[in-house]
Symmetry: C2
């Protein structure tokens, strides 16, 4: 009877990290918040290809995982500010390394602007 799990502590913490940040939008969100807090609408403007529904959802998950602080102000119209927690700040150098790696490993690519999914097709990444 075969094992039904991965039996390796390092692989497992890696899996855990990837479960938290390893998707299409979360690293971008964290990166954009690295210079300070930002409102929902601003995040949506900087990532124009994400839908509001999904952005809401990603922010909620990041908050639940302890990476984001959500501050809601009792104003009309509403104002909500998102900022990084200490946990997330500890991740920033790693994110930086991930992006540096792409620049080194794929020097022929120019990462000026990127589309994130256009018309439901891959590539999720595309130079413009």
């Amino acid at each position: 009877m075969a094992r039904k799990f991965i039996d390796n502590p390092n692989a497992c913490s890696l899996v855990h990290t990837m479960n938290i940040i390893g998707n299409k939008w979360k690293p971008i969100i964290l990166y954009l918040l690295s210079n300070g807090s930002m409102r929902f609408g601003m995040l949506n403007a900087l990532i124009p290809t994400i839908s509001k529904k999904v952005l809401t959802n990603q922010l909620k998950e990041l908050e639940n995982d302890g990476l984001l602080l959500r501050q809601s102000f009792a104003e009309i119209p509403p104002r909500v500010e998102y900022s990084l927690t200490e946990k997330a700040i500890g991740l920033l150098p790693v994110l930086r390394m991930l992006s540096d790696w792409a620049n080194e490993a794929y020097p022929e690519m120019e990462f000026e602007q990127c589309r994130i999914i256009e018309n439901g097709k891959k590539p999720a990444y595309n130079n413009v």
Copy 2:
């Protein structure tokens, strides 16, 4: 008329990296290959919760992105060895940081063994 792309070089190379390794299986595969080459069947045994179809597919994508070398030997029964390229080796310290981060950020968790999806439910990560 709104932008349809993300206008930030650092975010874009980050997106690119995550498109390459930011999914459920790829970081594990790379990690397992960090000690040397390995056969298809061995990878499958060490990641018992992945299906052959998906493993094949992930290996193919990693090969296409220049992270894996695939060596097929003309033997019966067949033997195929996968190993990391230089590009992938450059990624290992980053993977290590990702896993270290999880250990620091979530000290209450014990990453001994993990299940990767059970019965189609999250959590994708689960202590046993």
